[in-house]
Amino acid sequence: MVTPPRWTRQQRIDFADMDYPGTMYRAPAQNFRVPTSPRQIRYIVIHITGGPAQDEGPAINTFRNGPASAHYIVNRQGHVTQFVRDAHIANHVDNINSETNRDSIGIEHVNQWNQDGQLTPTDAQYGASANLVAWLCHQYQIPIVHDLARHAPGIRGHIEEQPESGHVSCPNPAWDWDRYISMVQRVQVQSFASLIDSLAR
């Protein structure tokens, strides 16, 4: 007797119910806000989970129960899960009504950085995140630069966007910004989109 595996994430995702075509999973977040008028996405905020988990399970539970949420999470195998639609506002920095959340997309990465262990992202994770961010930058006309200034168009870490949060390990000690930005710049979004069409092979 063959038993199919049990599902921990949404089993079937519909490309019509997500934004980034490289998404492999779709999971709901409890806390997000639908803007009253279409929002202008101006920058991307990079986060790491920080805790000991090696997969996205705890983050899925956290986002399911709120109040924190993010648009995407990239796990250590390079799989991308979308939680909040790009057009909606997630609560990944300060609070759901903040200017930062209003104008940004938040991306979590499963990566431990605490007193018990320090990891750096895997190659698959950097690659998948670079594909995702290149696509987002293309889609929303965001410059591919690591601009540390708060609210500036570009890409930056949580600690850079919100220094008063004290989240000094999100993500900077774990994150190789030079490598990452050059990876994002090298992604050819058009050819990446054609990879999605090659799902059949």
Binding site: P4, I13, D14, F15, A16, G127, L195, L199, R201
Partner: protein, 213 residues
């Protein structure tokens, strides 16, 4: 034919032209896949025909043919079969449903190359599909089965501007080994590889050789 198979046929009929353009030469960029097909052709030898199951525009059949195998191809989509014939007039292609190969006699083939065709068979029907392939294989016949590794199912309702309804179903390798076992196959080799960057969808892939004992 089940309604989901009818939908699969309708969807592939709609994208057949663009699909043929995109994939007819895909093996040029996939040396590992060529090597697996070399191995299949070598091991089947002159024992009989090798069927490219879910052949699309027939690129796998064409490669097998170029390696000296007696290749043929079967696809659910008549539009796809039409293109396979146009592109490879020296090879015989026919329309057929992997779940019920009504025009294929027991033991008709000595080998089957099922490249990313099981990805459209839903979990509850996989053992039946594999059983049907085993019926079409003669005793000692060899199956080469390939698929995306995972647990997810991706659904598309638009592809190259056409309205489609397609599920792309990923399988765990251990899970597929169980299904092959349940269908009566004897496993020979189970190989996994990472995707070719810039060439194909970024999923890990499995290539399984299994024999009809």
């Amino acid at each position: 034919m089940k309604s989901e198979q009818a939908e699969l046929r309708r969807s592939y009929d709609r994208v057949a032209e663009e699909y043929a353009r995109q994939f007819r030469d895909e093996l040029e960029q996939k040396p590992f896949d060529r090597k697996m097909l070399d191995w299949l052709a070598e091991r089947v030898g002159g024992a009989g025909p090798i069927c490219d199951m879910g052949c699309g525009p027939g690129q796998v059949a064409r490669y097998l043919h170029s390696r000296g195998a007696a290749a043929c191809g079967v696809d659910l989509s008549p539009e796809m079969v039409r293109r396979a014939r146009e592109l490879n007039p020296e090879i015989e292609f026919s329309v057929g449903d992997m779940l019920a190969l009504t025009d294929v006699a027991d033991g008709a083939w000595a080998g089957v190359a099922a490249f990313y065709s099981i990805i459209h068979i839903p979990r509850p029907s996989v053992v039946a599909a594999l059983g049907e392939l085993r019926r079409a294989l003669r005793g000692g016949g060899l199956l080469l089965l390939t698929f995306h590794i995972g647990r997810e199912t991706l659904h598309r309702d638009e592809w190259w501007g056409e309205e489609v309804s397609l599920d792309f179903i990923f399988y765990e390798t251990a899970e597929m080994k169980d299904y092959l076992d349940a269908a009566g196959f004897a496993l020979e080799e189970v190989i996994e590889r990472d995707p070719y960057p810039e060439v194909e969808y970024p999923s890990r892939r499995a290539y399984i050789f299994a024999r009809n004992p």
